[in-house]
């Protein structure tokens, strides 16, 4: 099975931004790097695959923009197909990631593989799916041998993920997925199912990029319990490290010919983690601690036998009611034993330090206080990104 090199995948994710709007003489991908033109050809005479995204304003006006471009393989990639989906474009009119970034009321929808996924991503994907099918039918119905490579950065990564999963179910054949700085797409069941169906998934992140950290748990990254590719280390969360082009820029950090040259780390979803209250000052505003805190939360729920109940509720509710329920459940668990109470105190202490509330002590374990700590933690995580969005208006 052919796979794209990190360089090719990132160049394609980058090029996909060019088909958002047309130039005076029509849609054009412009001059592409030699390693792409040598192996793939693109026909934009009928325009790109268009879709509707963004807030209510865009949807009401059915404001369509170019989202994806389909290429046919040649030479080494003969028989293969590539689907490149563009990333987020932000201005005050087209707030494409706003629903995800700023809104804690996450909505869930049932996706094409019958699992719960982010409603916003699903909505955009459903708007591009008919045109994708129209373009892919003639290519994939007759040719089940080639590999389909789905590529995208940011929102484009989430859409490429849904595209890959859908292509696998609709057409069979081999499907590879390459994402850069993509947010989480669905809950555990989606992550597990898509891990089993997509043949190879190269999920690339910068450790300091906040977008792959949202939406927060119970959203889970795929591939489930498999490796992610960390193209750039880095401690503190920095919104600018989300960019494809600007320093460090995924296009620079992925500028290599082999996946073996890229650092990998295996993220086991929900490792068993217990956090001690006395050690809370070790926590910091980093990806590492965001993950560790999530793991500690899940560990407590598991130990108390509450995880199935909470996960079932996650599939139904919105984030607001979900975190209310979680806080009430934590209060209940704290009353079961001193050990549980200690675990929860340790978790909340670390959350407060992560959120910058270093001096706030955990003195009570009421649902109200726990909920307040959750809000502070989520607020801190979303704050930097939210500020970046508000500044665009």
């Amino acid at each position: 099975m052919n796979t794209l090199t990190p360089q090719m995948a990132s160049q394609l994710a980058n090029a996909a931004y060019r088909i958002r709007t047309a130039e005076r003489t029509g849609y054009s991908l412009g001059q592409l790097p030699p390693q792409i033109t040598k192996n793939f050809s693109f026909d934009l005479s009928n325009g790109p695959v268009q879709g509707v995204s963004g807030g209510m304003f865009s949807r009401m006006l059915n404001r369509k923009t170019g989202f994806a471009v389909i290429g046919q393989g040649k030479n080494q990639y003969h028989g293969d197909t590539v689907v490149a989906v563009r990333g987020t474009y932000m201005n005050w009119k087209t707030a494409e990631l706003r629903d995800v970034v700023t809104d804690l009321h996450f909505g869930l929808a049932t996706g094409d593989n019958q699992t719960r996924i982010h409603a916003g991503f699903n909505k955009v994907f459903q708007s591009i799916k008919p045109v994708l099918a129209e373009n892919l039918d003639p290519l994939l119905r007759a040719n089940a041998k080639g590999t389909v490579h789905c590529v995208g950065h940011s929102l484009g990564g989430a859409l490429a993920h849904l595209t890959a999963d859908w292509i696998k179910h609709k057409y069979g054949g081999k499907v590879c997925l390459y994402t850069f700085g993509a947010p989480r797409v669905g809950l555990t069941e989606f992550a597990k199912k898509t891990t089993a169906s997509v043949d190879k998934h190269f999920r690339c992140v910068h450790a300091s990029d906040p977008i792959p950290m949202i939406p927060v748990w119970p959203f889970i990254h795929a591939p489930f319990n498999k490796q992610e590719f960390v193209l750039s280390p880095g401690m503190m969360i920095n919104p600018f490290h989300h960019s494809m082009e600007s320093n460090p820029g995924y296009i620079n950090t992925a500028n290599t010919h082999s996946w073996e040259h890229v650092a990998q780390q295996t993220n086991i979803n929900a490792k068993s983690v217990v956090l001690r209250y006395a050690e809370r000052h070790r926590a910091s505003y980093t990806t590492y601690w965001a993950l560790r805190i999530t793991d500690a939360l899940v560990t407590i729920l598991k130990k108390a036998g509450q995880l199935p109940v909470i996960m079932a509720a996650a599939g139904i509710g919105t984030a607001l009611t979900f975190y209310d329920l979680l806080a009430r459940s934590m209060e209940h668990i704290a009353k079961i034993s001193v050990e549980f109470a200690d675990d929860i105190k340790g978790l909340l202490g670390h959350m407060l330090v992560f959120a910058g509330k270093v001096t706030t002590a955990v003195t009570e374990l009421t649902a109200r206080f726990i909920r307040w700590v959750f809000d502070a933690t989520l607020g801190a995580l979303y704050r930097s990104v939210r500020l970046a969005l508000e500044n665009l208006e």
């Binding site: 360089q7 990132s10 160049q11 980058n14 931004y17 060019r18 958002r20 709007t21 130039e23 005076r24 003489t25 054009s28 412009g30 001059q31 592409l32 790097p33 030699p34 033109t37 050809s41 990333g87 987020t88 474009y89 932000m90 201005n91 009119k93 087209t94 990631l97 950065h153 940011s154 503190m236 920095n238 919104p239 600018f240 989300h242 960019s243 494809m244 082009e245 600007s246 320093n247 820029g249 296009i251 620079n252 950090t253 992925a254 500028n255 930097s384 990104v385 500020l387 970046a388 500044n391 665009l392």
Partner: protein, 187 residues
Amino acid sequence: MRTSNVWRKPLPLLAAALSFLVFIVFSQQVNADMFSWFKKKELQLSPTVQGQILLHGQPVKGITVLRDLNYGDELYTDRQVTGSDGHFSFPAKNIRVKDSMFDTDVRHGLFVEQGSEITRIFSISNLNTLDFKSFNTLLKNMTCELSNPELGYDLEPDPAKPGVYLGAISKCSFADESVVTNKEIVE
């Protein structure tokens, strides 16, 4: 009594208030880099462009050349009519932009308008900026033979951004092609 004391010493109080403010601001220094998007910065969308339009080797006079500069949804269009020797020129174009964590498509296109027919003579695009040495060098002096096919130009990358590929599509040839690493006819 206390109130009148305060009003008798407005300067020390003001200084104290100011230093408190300064302390607050500087104690947030950690965040300063991260929040530098509040600053606007100057961005060059186009350097000065100079060129000549030819058809079958003869200068074309009185033809309209359009320059489209895109920054995301913003489009800046300039028009120039060629002189008797087919020459045209556009001034440099700078805009002020806010830094963003999200990428913006930037495009530079030159077109020739003959009645209702529009022909592309130069096009290049990238994310966030096109202000690179290779691109600026090309546009200093270009000769566009309208009967030529479109060529794809691979340009020298910027050492600071090794992954950023720069390539243009154009019917033109350039006085200084030292920054061109390869050119061939676009299929």
